[in-house]
Subunit: 166 residues, 2 copies
Amino acid sequence: MKLDEAKKKFIQTWGALGSQWGINKTMAQIHALLLISEEALSMEDIMEELHISRGNASMNLRSLIDWGIVFKEFKAGERREFFSSEKSIEELARKIAKERSRREIKPAIRVLKEVSDVEDQSGDAEQFKKTTSELYDFILRADNMLDKITEQKGNWITKTIYKLMT
Amino acid sequence: MKLDEAKKKFIQTWGALGSQWGINKTMAQIHALLLISEEALSMEDIMEELHISRGNASMNLRSLIDWGIVFKEFKAGERREFFSSEKSIEELARKIAKERSRREIKPAIRVLKEVSDVEDQSGDAEQFKKTTSELYDFILRADNMLDKITEQKGNWITKTIYKLMT
DNA sequence: CTGAACTTTCAAAAATAATTGAAACTTTTA
DNA sequence: TAAAAGTTTCAATTATTTTTGAAAGTTCAG
């Protein structure tokens, strides 16, 4: 495959994967573009490359920065801002995992805790409590596991697999 | 909290969590409803409980069955079909993880492999190859890890955490 | 200050995804 | 075999999410 074609395909695929996992397609595409760019890119560059509007670029860049996986860069003698992405894949994955846990999983855990504490005593209520507290326990443990995995610095995926094999 | 309120809140929350992770809200809500129902429910029951149309119920139930987390049940002397969900949370998580890996991660891995094999030799191409193959390696290993974790039968979350702590 | 260069905001428009509902289809009963 | 009971399909509609683009905002050089 030719480089240009490969780049396009990578950006498309990353974008599609993003949507399937609840992340705005353009956001994922900007991220893909920055990942494979040696140099930091200006907003103009990004708009042109992906054929998107200024507003769209601005908003999605902001989100990426909020997620902690894209950074603003300043170049000497240049007024405008440049953007570059976290280049370490491990660090990238760690940040994404942390953010999704914080924004989505932890709030859900709180609700599960809350609803599993229903006051009724009927058989129906007992069944409900049982299911929701099992779910609470499970998700809490899974989330803790995620924390454990991601807090290991350096080659955590490899380390984790190694431990799992023993 | 009262049982009815708790049920509603649980169904809402599960639905919202679904959308955030790329799963149709109604599909997640039907699943939530079945999870907390002792008895299998008919399509009518589900339509009424969630205020959704017959077509919507039918299509989303089908998806849930395709995912392997909801089953049709037949009751003696009843013409219509009843639906119930996988009740073991561990089994549920295992099935969801397996399906998402099969449908989304594995195809993405194939594309990454493909694009990281670009033929050009320029510096630009080398950088692109480097990033995409790192990503390929990483996601491949993460996916293998997921396979490893989910193939352990019985209390796999606990076992995994235990191993991680040693 | 003033205005040029650049970025952000947000209401409106466009694109995408989900939902409806009625017709077609399937299965069962009489 | 007819029709009743139930389910599925899918074109049209509705809801939701994303994107645009122009106005407002900001920063900086002269």
